[in-house]
Symmetry: D2
Subunit: 396 residues, 4 copies
């Protein structure tokens, strides 16, 4: 029966039944005239989530890693310099990808728990009088540490520095769960995926490209076919696709966007903040600390929680699996064994989150962590009560 | 998102994804030779759950009420006397059904919270020297009060009284969640349904009939067609069905039985006891009392919980729905407004139960019930910890 | 792979993927306020298909046989006389059901292949000066013979005869595939099911009851609970259900009605006529005859086809199954071995029908039937071409 | 209703219900220990279909195009020379991909309708004394022309020429429908996909790499991350995946392999030959010709059929869609307007194929093609009769 329990990992997220059904489609011919009925609403809905007037929304049958690779291979060339901050495993992976593709990466190293530092980025750009930096690449939500970076605060100094480098943002683990404002923030390319805030199966990278981002493709010299923006845009303009499209994920995305729209994006964001805040209250009651170094950096999709000294977080997450059948995120990279993570995004509610917190408490008590079961989750319950807005009406 | 929350009503129960898939079948011809591939394993599995050598397992496309009607209209005649205990809404409904069908019902009235009293049944049978009582009808698990009756203790005095009346048992809300032993307990007809312990959609009554039960059909004089045992048994013997069969529920039952068998019936019963006991520990910590009047009567599938004086339990369950999107069972009949119920059976685990308990606590706190959030569910967590057996391996 | 082939039996019918998804619902509480969101649209849609102002639409978790039993046990009493025509297995079954329930059935025997004879019904009613006949029961579409009876032509003489008997119609295998007009035709109770024209799984009887039909319930003296109209109507008025409802079928029905409405009922009927006519052209080309004795009796949902002398139709249908994996309807009752049947209703198109015809031709050729493969199905193709209206746009 | 019709395009293919269910999985953690339960059987099954001892089976969340890109970017470097035959749109696309990635492609141009010519390949290799040709890339089944190339006959002269170039084969539209023998044929890398013979949704490229193929990765200098064999193999060895895996497609593949194994691969191939031959008999009866220039080149998965002069094949396929709701493949590249294609692979049976042939006949007759409906599909029926092996038993 334990396979009925919820997941509290940092993605992929629980898939609601409605989206499982939406993805369960019979195959259709993507040359047939009704293919656009699938694609156009998905594109239109994605534009609203990104809050942008950009018209180039690209769906690649790939993971988020594939999305990143598409972003850089279409806009940069071997030897180009890029500016990136490293504050966790996922920003580090992106740096690795850039280096493997022959880019010269100017890395701003940060403590794990800090966000991408706007001041250091500004300084680097100001110092780059020769405009050698061809792009700034930022991870909005560092999934390994539960830290969000403030994209708007990064764009402002880029503008002040009158630097022409475009801004690329990885919002894989934040989009559709935390606010994003592509145009207002001056983002030129954003990369997301199907399996996080959109609550779908894995397998589709979602890219949105501004005109500036698109202009950059002209000088890109990398060989590319599968991820080629030009092929994808040309096919899109013809109402088609350059190869066999991921139709079930496109159908799922169309429905996911309808769900998000029905709930209201503002309410979706508020629900995520509320679940995250409930988790944080419990963490505080446990006497534990988040990896994130300051409250304004707290991610609303995943919390990385430092273990007390002398306790191995891997044993804790393993015990939760084998003892209670519940999956939590493990500590990654330098946090391995030192932190565990609770994913609290996608298709979840406050009462589901309580199930995860109560489980974690039992697992900790079993392993003689310095927590008492008496009342530990109570702060989460208390917060959920005071912030409750009611569900109004049950879903049909 | 609240439609993703779990149900804690007294049935129907949450349907696991595996069984939703099993029921999602394309239609087949029930005259075709592969119909028996569907039916035979379902019958074989049901026999194991009932623990019987009886060979007549009948599947009617009907609710549990239909199953009851089938039991009496095939074995009794207008004017026949039957002996029944009334200790809640569901036993009362069965009495009403018998009376509407023209049976003379000798009712043993019990306090709500008590079980069917073996001593009074024995007395009634002993007093019935003329063997006028044609059947004894008992509800194993009274869903309205969360009370289980001990069937074995009822059969013994029937035998002592050397009374020939057969014993019919309603195990709709207990079968496949609490132990049942048809042959050992001397049950002649048992009635169950698809939507409770079998975790399926509603719509199929499951009857099992001993030879004695079958013999009784010979003198039954009621007009009947849809529920006629004779038609059903004749068709079954021919590998067919007397009318269009509920194929999706039969396919679902086959898979449900596989799931129960994989987990092991003994473990299934232990899991239900454990979940129920966790709920009872929390109830005790809340300072509340169960409707069930003694520990050996506690049901492992549903707990009916008396509200403190001055608090309307209907407001509580409504608040849980509208405030947190979680459904609990309401008080029925004379318990309306005075008790609420927590269903804890079918496709549930300990950590899911904690989600329900935590929700109920929040709802009670919101309505100024005399409970403090600090530590109330902790006894459930404590019990789940000490009784934990581990899940061994995650399901694939 | 043969389980991917279509069914050409006389029901249940192929379930389209959209309806399989619609029926695949997580369980909900039928006491919860959103139950009516499921039920009201289903009732509203059914009213349109029956073309009636009757407000009592009753959904029983039962087969069509259960629906018949509900119709008579709620409106008649033991010893009542009813007038019925027998022209095939299904009308015969209804007669048997009435007799087993103690009704005195005045049977008008007809040749298999004829419809219920309006003139004989008129004569019987005219002769019944004492108004002893309490109801006239007609099967609109005799599934065993592929014969439709003209309900309007039967009601007219009933009115002329100024006879007060209500008219009950079994439209199980015709509703939602062939026109029905409850009010215009003066039908008082109509019985249908989920698994034919509505293209759903088996398991729900659908009854619609006029005020006259309802008035008849007052004097009905049969014991009844499961099928009791009074309980069902009382519960319906309270937005509830007298016992656990068949929620997945109600959800499926809601979607089925949406599909029928999107296609347009008139077009649905035209599609069925067209598929049936295509089959009839092929039958004629084969040199075979329909069981139905005249063109105005031809059913648009199922065709019963007489085999040439000396050929056993059971061998033919068996060969189609074992040789090609395609199921056709067998001859029933006195047509056993003498006729086979092709169901052509529900979720089917012209090109699917051609697949069935082509298969039947191969099976006949294999068994040395006097047909030549050259051109036999061509008349069906020709008819489909000339009657083609185009699909306009592919479904999304 | 037309969305219920079958597809006769050249892939993606109809997805059987069993595989739609298999792909409909709740998300799981791919770091959890049960991930290997999903992956290992899929890998084991794939090995049987490829008939190889190679141990490196790589699943990329990508289309077939992505699979091709992975094959070359992991084994070759900019400026490397490769030998390829061009005999249709898909081999041409692969050439284009190689050229865009900076490879020097020595193209052997063939008539569309011819296969990759073993003699010319042998000559080219023999002439390449300096072993400048780093790989030979062949498309086993050219989907645009319905032509199969004989891989064994190509490998033999490669060996005779004692040339060390490895052999890469695109078997996207042939694997699991027509025989493949990786080791026997000396194939070093083979590329397939989820959406053709495996009858799954689109979105997963399947690569199998021999030791020789793997050795080639050592000198490959292309930047790569998403498609990097090294990352994938390292993760695979750890029972994990380098990024979020396409779990639903892996679950679907496991079940697809079970289906293929239950039917038996030999029977699967025989079924495809039989369906293809039925189509070819009908084409011959229509008086039309295949694009494929000789019988031993006929593909068993797709037939490309030349239109009579003066008739636009695009109008024909459009008419089939809008007139009858059935999708056929259009002519591609230089066959645009001159040929149409019938896909006959995956989840199809003989009687389904007849539905497609009968539809095509009607469409042709509507457009005044020189075909008479009388008996045109009859040869297909005749062939299906004589080659019938029976289905034995219906699937449960």
């Amino acid at each position: 029966m334990s396979d009925q329990n919820l997941l509290f990992i940092s993605g992929p997220t629980n898939i609601p039944g409605r989206l499982r059904q939406a993805m369960d489609v019979q195959i259709r011919d993507y040359w047939a005239p009704d293919f656009v009925d699938l694609k156009l609403p998905a594109q239109a809905g994605v534009i609203e989530v990104f809050v942008t007037d950009s018209v180039h929304i690209l769906f690649f049958p790939a993971s988020g890693t594939g999305g990143w690779e598409a972003a850089i291979t279409n806009t940069l060339s071997v030897g180009d310099k890029v500016l990136m901050a490293r504050n966790g495993v996922f920003s580090d992976r992106w740096i690795d990808l850039c280096q493997r593709h022959g880019l010269e990466v100017q890395v701003i190293d940060c403590a794990w728990g800090d966000s991408a530092p706007a001041d250091k980025i500004e300084a680097a750009l100001t110092a780059d009088a020769g405009q050698q930096i061809k792009a700034v690449l930022i991870t909005q939500n560092e999934t390994a540490t539960g830290v969000r970076s403030d994209i708007a605060s990064i764009r402002d100094p880029m503008d002040s520095a009158t630097h022409s480098a475009p801004l690329f943002v990885d919002c894989v683990s934040s989009l559709a769960s935390m606010p994003f404002a592509m145009d207002e923030w001056g983002v030129n390319i954003a990369v997301a995926g199907s399996q996080k805030g959109f609550m779908l199966a894995t397998g589709m990278a979602i890219l949105i490209v501004s005109q500036t981002g698109l202009d950059a493709t002209k000088q890109a010299s990398w060989p590319r076919t599968f991820f080629d923006f030009r092929d994808m845009i040309r096919a899109t303009d013809e109402g088609c696709y350059p190869y066999t499209p991921p139709m079930n994920l496109m159908a799922g995305l169309r429905e996911s966007l309808t769900m998000l729209s029905e709930e209201g994006l503002g309410i979706v964001y508020a629900r995520h903040f509320r679940m995250a805040e409930g988790v944080r209250r419990a963490v505080s009651a446990w006497g534990f600390e988040l990896v994130a170094s300051a409250p304004d950096l707290y991610s609303d999709t995943v919390s990385a929680i430092l273990n007390p000294r002398g306790f191995d977080s891997n044993l804790l997450t393993q015990h939760a699996v084998y003892g209670y059948g519940v999956l939590f995120g493990v500590g990654l990279g330098e946090l391995k064994g030192k932190a565990f993570r609770i994913g609290h995004f996608g298709s979840l509610t406050d009462v589901m989150v309580l199930s995860g917190l109560a489980t974690m408490e039992m697992a900790m008590a079993d392993l003689d962590y310095p927590v008492e079961l008496e009342g530990v989750a109570a702060p989460a319950q208390g917060y959920f009560r005071e912030s409750r807005i009611g569900v109004g009406r049950l879903a049909a």
